[in-house]
């Protein structure tokens, strides 16, 4: 894989086909990120690690274990089992290693592991990526896209805290409208390509 190919994949996955804004994956943690205590940063970084790791593990499990055994149809079950174990391990590890992050994330911690972005990217990379390196890069760039978008979104929400809006739109509705505007902006990147 050449540098240009990696760059092309990065541009496509981060900007043109952002998993949150165009694929609607991981919208749950995305909408819950706020600027308070840098939740967005912790969420984004943890999800970067988990998505990369999980898409690698899922790709390996799907292509090395289940396909030779003829059990492709049980991929979802195996993925979920793996994800649950990963989530338990990560919860334990963060409690021990990063008590600060554990306190900030609090009850949203399970949401960081078990969400549609992690599983969706793993399923998509398992289907679409021909080799392990592509799968790992796909997971990494998807997570970076998520990090980028949630950084933008968190900053916008910081501004929103000090602005007035109709009472019915307070809270999540206005955040969703903001997210819609962000998505509309990202539509400008659609079709972005380096390599033909």
């Amino acid at each position: 894989m050449t540098v240009m190919q990696v760059l092309s994949l990065a541009l496509t996955v981060i900007l043109a086909e952002n998993i949150v804004l165009t694929g609607s994956l991981g919208a749950g943690p995305f909408l819950r990120t706020t600027g308070e205590g840098r939740i967005w940063l912790w969420t984004g970084l943890l999800m970067t690690g988990i998505m990369t790791l999980f898409s690698v593990l899922s790709w390996l499990m799907g292509h090395m274990l289940l396909t030779p055994l003829g059990l492709e149809r049980l991929l979802l079950l195996a993925d979920i089992l793996l994800l649950g174990l990963l989530g338990l391990g990560m919860q334990f590890g963060i409690k021990k290693l990063l008590p600060g992050a554990y306190q900030v994330l609090g009850k949203w911690l399970p949401l960081v592991t078990v969400n549609s972005a992690v599983l969706g990217v793993a399923l998509l990379s398992g289907e679409g990526c021909p080799d392990l390196r592509t799968a790992a890069l796909y997971g990494l760039f998807s997570a970076l896209g998520f990090l980028l978008v949630s950084a933008l979104f968190a900053s916008v929400r910081e501004r929103l805290r000090f602005s007035k809006c109709p009472k019915a739109f307070e809270g999540y509705p206005i955040a969703l409208v903001t997210a819609a505007l962000l998505a509309m902006a990202f539509m400008g990147f659609s079709g972005l390509k380096i390599l033909p």
């Binding site: 609607s24 994956l25 749950g28 079950l77 649950g84 399970p110 399923l123 409208v177």
Partner: protein, 401 residues
């Protein structure tokens, strides 16, 4: 045994001029053959005088001593008879004596043997008869005994068996009835323990799920499905009903397992149970609703990490009986379906100008094509949530007033 041989018993006269028995025999036959034509007289083929003497010539000359008798024989029948007698007499005597001696010896042996055999046979017959008679007597006595015994005992056995069967039937009847009552009581107890619902509470749970704590509209969960699978009403309704079915099954399963699953494995367990039912639902959709399955794509498997389902499993199923879990699953699932359908119909109407594939504004006109794009999901959901908040605020104001 007698050591004497038949030759010793009977002295055989010596015959000096003849070599062996074969010659003598031949002569006897010669005589017989030559006599026949004279006595019959009518045989034409045999009566051929000139050829016969010539053919006989060598034998006659060789015999020598018997020549005279042979020539005289042709003269008359009595001559022939005398010659025959003089010639055959010694032979007959000799042979007869031998045969007689043999017969006597054989007879003696035969008599001895017969006597012996007869005695033995008689002995055997006597013995066999006695034994047969004994056996018959014995067998008769025994069979008679057996029949007497069997008759007596078959009757006893039948009486005994009848009594036992009657006893068993009485016992079984009583106990089957008791067993059925027991089973019924326990089934009823089990049903009451697991499915007895107070109507008011059940209605409360249902309303909570459907409206008051609607997981999508009030708590904003399952956003991924709300955004991704709602570009058409058909897809939204299909996903909502699938989610309802999965939620119902998973909640009931986990409510049955709630006493077994330890606290710290609860999340993992609910994840696995959800994944199991989502996998089944995925296969079911692929088989029976292939078009819908293709349209929904990745969003059906993603139900396995839907936080509406996981939250209800973790917070509700683990503390309630399966009956309430089922009601909650139905209510929450239908509430989610309601939200999905609202967003889906808004997006379909505004984005494509149709509802359930039926054009509303005539032709291809779409009021706001952007609602079909991914960002339209965010917008539509924002308006639906705003509407829900508006209703909630109005209701609160009316309650306060």
């Amino acid at each position: 045994m007698d050591e004497k041989r038949p030759e010793d018993l009977l002295p055989i006269p010596e015959e000096p001029d003849l070599g062996g028995g074969a010659h003598r025999e031949e002569e006897v036959w010669d005589f017989l053959r030559e006599d026949l034509p004279e006595e019959g007289g009518a045989d034409a083929s045999r009566a051929d005088p000139p050829t016969r003497p010539e053919g006989e010539e060598p034998t006659r000359q060789r015999e020598g001593g018997a020549k005279k008798g042979r020539r005289e024989r042709t003269a008359s029948a009595s001559d022939g008879w005398q010659a025959f007698c003089s010639k055959a007499g010694p032979l007959i005597k000799e042979w007869g004596g031998k045969a007689w001696a043999g017969l006597k010896i054989a007879g003696r042996y035969l008599a001895l043997f017969l006597a012996f055999a007869g005695a033995k046979l008689w002995q055997f017959l006597k013995f066999a008869g006695r034994k047969t008679w004994q056996f018959l007597k014995f067998a008769g006595r025994k069979s008679w005994q057996f029949l007497k015994f069997a008759g007596r005992n078959i009757r006893r056995f039948l009486l005994f068996a009848g009594a036992k069967i009657r006893q068993f039937l009485k016992f079984a009847g009583r106990n089957i009835w008791r067993f059925l009552k027991f089973l019924g009581r326990h089934l009823r107890a089990w049903a009451i323990a697991n499915f007895a619902l107070e109507p008011a509470k059940a209605l409360g749970v249902l309303l909570d799920g459907l409206v008051l704590k609607n997981p999508a509209l009030v708590l904003l969960m399952g956003v991924c499905a709300l955004l991704g699978a709602t570009s058409t009403l058909r897809g939204a309704l299909g996903l909502g009903l699938t989610a309802t079915a999965v939620l119902l099954c998973a909640e009931m399963t986990l409510a049955f397992l709630r006493s077994i699953v330890p606290e710290r494995l609860r999340v993992l367990c609910s994840l696995v149970v959800t994944a199991l039912f989502v996998t089944l639902a995925d296969w079911g959709l692929e088989v029976w609703q292939r078009e819908l399955w293709q349209q929904l794509g990745i969003f059906v498997p993603l139900l396995a990490v839907n936080w509406i389902i996981l939250t209800r499993l973790n917070e509700f199923s683990c503390r309630h009986i399966p009956g309430y879990a089922a009601v909650d699953g139905l209510g929450t699932g239908l509430g989610f379906t309601l939200a999905l359908c609202l967003v889906g119909s808004i997006r379909e109407i505004l984005g494509t100008g149709a509802l359930w594939g039926v054009p509303l504004f005539g032709g291809e006109t779409a009021p706001a094509p952007g609602f079909a794009a991914p960002y339209g999901g965010f917008l539509a959901l924002a308006f639906v949530l705003a509407g829900a908040q508006l209703v909630k605020n109005l209701a609160e104001r009316r309650g306060r007033a």
